[in-house]
């Protein structure tokens, strides 16, 4: 294998992920601000906290937030801290 062939092989080893995944990850700072209100409510409202624990995605929908994988992952991270 020539050096160029090896370089080509290594370039191919890191394909571009779907564009939507990257865009969602880049929007995490915005999502965090949007989740601030929800996190505050979870901390002070036991009934809402129970709802989130029972079905996090449905709870987000109820608050008008689309439960994308990025938003769900971020909220889980914040609640785990």
């Amino acid at each position: 294998m020539t050096p160029e062939e090896r370089i080509a092989e290594l370039l191919r080893a890191l394909p571009t992920p779907p564009r939507g995944w990257m865009e969602a990850a880049k929007e995490l700072p915005t999502a965090r601000r949007e989740l601030d209100t929800i996190v505050e409510r979870i901390e002070r409202d036991a009934q809402f906290r129970a709802l989130v624990q029972a079905d996090l995605e449905e709870a987000l929908r109820g608050e008008g937030v689309e439960p994308t994988p990025a938003v769900v992952a971020l909220l889980r991270q914040r609640l785990a801290r």
Partner: protein, 188 residues
Amino acid sequence: MDPASDADLVARCLANEQGAWDALVDRYARYVYAIAARAYRLEPTDAEDVFQEVFARVFERLETLRDVDALRPWIAQTTRRCAVDTLRRNGRETSVEQLPDEPDEGLAELDEAMTVHAALTGLSPDCREILDRFFTRDESYRTIGAELDLPAGTIASRIARCLARLRDVLQPDPAPRAGKKADRPRVG
């Protein structure tokens, strides 16, 4: 492609600079994706969940990173943990022995690949774009020619020229001293 060091990106992310976070995602998205989808062979929906979980963790815990130069291994370890958790949840993995074949070997190759990708910053924007389109986005000569307004017949020669330039970036010294520690990928 942001040429800033990882340490600089981390510092700017911690100062809430959106552009730095975008650059960090651009830099590591392929790496995280490759570990999840290739090294651990996750299904696309699981790979997406792992991808978002990893970036959510990185975003939320960036200030806990003690050594900013260890960003890449930290992201690799986080991705591995998320991938293994996913495999366990799916019942596809109950012990280390049952993980996909030699993920460590695959990860070592991905580290080499990251070094090659980082070296792309040493090329012209035209070379970076044509190599990225052909090798990482898997675009055809026809698509590349149409997008870049180039005759399709010249694409192959341009790719070859750009690969040779990238080789020179990675191997600037044609006769390295014996015993000199190499931190470049094994491209020879």
